[in-house]
Structures are given as C-alpha cells and as structure tokens.
Amino acid sequence: MVEKADLFKNGKRLDGRGPMDLRPLKITAGVLERAQGSALVEWGRNKVLAAVYGPHEVLPKHLADPTKAIINARYIMAPFSGQEEHGRSGPNRRSIEISKVAKHVFENAVLVDQFPKTMIDVHMEVLQSDGGTRVAGITAGAVALADAGIPLRDLPVGLSAGLIGEHMVLDLDKYEDNLGDSDMPMVILPRTGEILLSQMDGLLSREDISKAFDMIFQGAQKVRDKQIEALRTSYERMAAQAAQGETQ
C-alpha cells in the first residue's frame, strides 16, 4: 500500500525519478496494417494505440463543413486497462470529455482547410493505463496523423505536471495522480509555444502554474524527439522495403 508520504523522499520519487524525469518512453509509428496512419505509445506502464482514418466522406453528411475537414477524435479506455476491477465498455463521461478536448487539439494542429467537406478520424485506445493516458493518447494521435501523411502545423505534444506536497514534478504516474495534490495535463505545440489543451485537478497558484508551464515546455522536447524518431524509423523501414522490392 503506497502512502502519500512515500511519493517524494530525498529529492526522489517513488520510482526513483527526479522531478524533471519522464518515465521511459517508446513510440512506434505504423503499427497497424489497415489504418492510414498509426502509432503505439509505451510510456511507463501506459500503452496507448492511435489510428487515423481519412480524410473521408463525412458521416452523418449534414456535419460536413464546406471550408474545412472536421476532426472526429475518440479517446477510450479498454475495460481491462486499469489496475482496478473490469471497467465498463464503451464511452463514459470522462472519455467523452477527453475526446472533445483532444478533438480541439487536432483541429488546431491539422491543416484542416486543405481538406474541405471531409472527416479525419483519430482513434486513441488506451490498452493499459498508469496515469497520464490522455496526454499519451494525444501524443500518439499526433504521430498517427503524421504517419498518415496528413499535413500538420507541428506535432502536438502532451505532458502533465503536478504538485506532490510542495514539489512540482513532470509526468505523473497513477500513484502520483491519485495521492498527489494537483495535476495539470497539457498539450502544446513546441514550435509555436501554444497551449492547445489545459485541464487541472487540485489547487495551483499562479506561480505553480508558471513553473509547471516551464517544466512542461522543457520536458516536451524529449517527447517530441521520440515522436520524430518514430516517424523517421517508420519511413526508413518503408524505404528499405521499397528498395528490396526493386532488387527482386
């Protein structure tokens, strides 16, 4: 049984990380066969799969926008994904809200005016959860969009910061999320410094929030590097396969 006092001792967190350290992060692009783009984000004990379909015809048709593509974002947790009991299948109030704010992130990042009267689906499936699944999901969705060849202003990066007692830390895991004092999931566009998603639980002062922003902007660079590495690896793999095809 983990207690709150265990979360931060002698400058170290429960899993040995310092305040600025992220959990181990691995991103793989192009993991699904049928989707136009896909990505698997393994972040600590989180496993989140993202798939992109589209641009395709809008369904239902009356939602079509003659000036731009509309984004259909869907974040959902598998009923077996948590450490607790079997969850309910299908969307719940939490996942519907997260899908909405995720949609807004992709509406900003995708060059939607290049694809009028179409719809782009971004599906984010949480297969295994350990805190920070919405930011992991959106980070995966961004890679899946790029993997699908959909033009983006920049790759959105999700990351959370939060307070454990008086210590601001990055990338909270499930224990820190549940027992800590506050947490602030954010999604930013690193190139422009824009904040595309901001949510919060708990109480934070203006100074706390300012500090959280600075830490998130700094930490996001590491996540961005992994996103780009994943895309590069995927393209190199495709190029190698194409070259092999030519020699045969």
Binding site: I96, V101, E194, I195, S198, M200, L203, R206, I209
Partner: protein
Amino acid sequence: MILEQIKQGFIRELADKGQREDGRGLLDYRAIKVTKGFAPNAEGSALAEIGRSKVLCGIKFDVMTPFADRPTEGVVMVNAEFSPVAHPEFRAGPPDEKSIELARVVDRGIRSAKVVNVDNMLVTEGKVQGIFIDLYILDHDGNLIDTAALAAMAALKDAKVPKFEEGKIVRGTSSGSLPLKDIVVSTSFEKIGKTIMVDATDAEEIASSGRLSLGTANDGKVCSSQKSGSAGFSKDEYLQMIDWAHEKRRDLLAKI
C-alpha cells in the same frame, strides 16, 4: 442562429479594434443577477443570470452507497441539462459532449477546492450522504460555464442539510446550512482573432476560435482550467488570464 452566423465577420472586426457589439469593454461582464431559493422543494437552489443567459441549479440530498475505497465519504455529483427551452439548437436527449464538459468543469472546480467537506458523511453503516447538483440551462446567450458555476455556488450557499433518521432522509427538515470550506467562481475568456474577452455572448462564441475557463478559489488559487475550441494560447496570455480571473472573481463573489 443564422443571424449570429452572419454577424461573425462584424464581431471579428470589432474585436480587432478592442470593441464589442453591445458596447462593453473586453473585460466587462454583462449584468449579473442571482436569485437564491428559486426552487424551494430542493434543499438548495439558485437561478443565476449573466446577461440573457439563465441557469437554474437545484441541489438534492439523498442516501447512497459510498465508493468502496472511501466508505465514510459523501458523494457529490454534478449533472447538466441543456434544456431545449434554452436555444433553438438544443435538442432533448442524452447529454452531449458540451453538457458533459460543462458539468465536469463545474464539478472539478468544486471538488478541487474541497468546497463541500465530504469527510464523515456516514448516515448509517454502508450508507453515506449523496449531494446531487443539477444544472438546468434555461436560456443560452453565451458563457454558460460561468453562469452555471455561479448558480452551483449560490445553490450550495443556499443549501440546508436535511435530518437523517434511522438511515433515511427526512424531507422538509433542516439541521442547518451546508458548511462550505471555500468559494469558487469561473471566469471564461474567448479568443476572437488575437483579442481576448470575458463573458462572451452566443454570437461572440460563434465568432470565437477558442475558450479558456478558469476557476478561482480563495487565497489566490486556481481550482480549474479548461481549454476548449481550436485556438491556442501562449503562456503569457494564460498567466494574464489568471490575473484577470482573480480580478473578476471579486465582482462575481459580490453577487452570491
């Protein structure tokens, strides 16, 4: 609705000049009015009006099964109903993403600031107090989150805790006011072009590209943050909005 759509260009031009259709300054709220005790059969209620927007909050107590990991804690639940009486685009039916978002943002503000002390709300073995906070949107002319948060806070202030006897609630009785540990309000900002303004009307929200709703609590704390819409905000804009939210908090508190 068509009129609001047509007005978008006009509203954007005005916003670029720092002006608004109704002559308000960018940081001015419309008239705010709160009527407590509007639905007296509820244990607490309040009708909040900001400009032409109206939200009624009713609070009912009940006896509930607690969460397994928190056997003595009371359960607070916030729900929002976007009634079809409020807007030509609202339809009866299960809550959509906007109504779920509104309810959850108001809920997080109240929960984060621990406005209601839910510790030790045991009624009888295996049963605790439940507090249902229902938000009825009755008229929608923009800024529903702030109007709903105001209605919820005023209704909580209005609420009388009923007596519980032999594990049951005794309706129509009171054992005193519901003790509140903090007071939270919400201030929502809309971004039209590069201009940021508070308390947008429906037409302004249609012209807006994004919103930030900030909940404020006592001691200069922020208790909720929700970015909505496609626009992005810079760190400087965000911190500026925190300062503005704390300024506006004083005006909003004076009404409840």
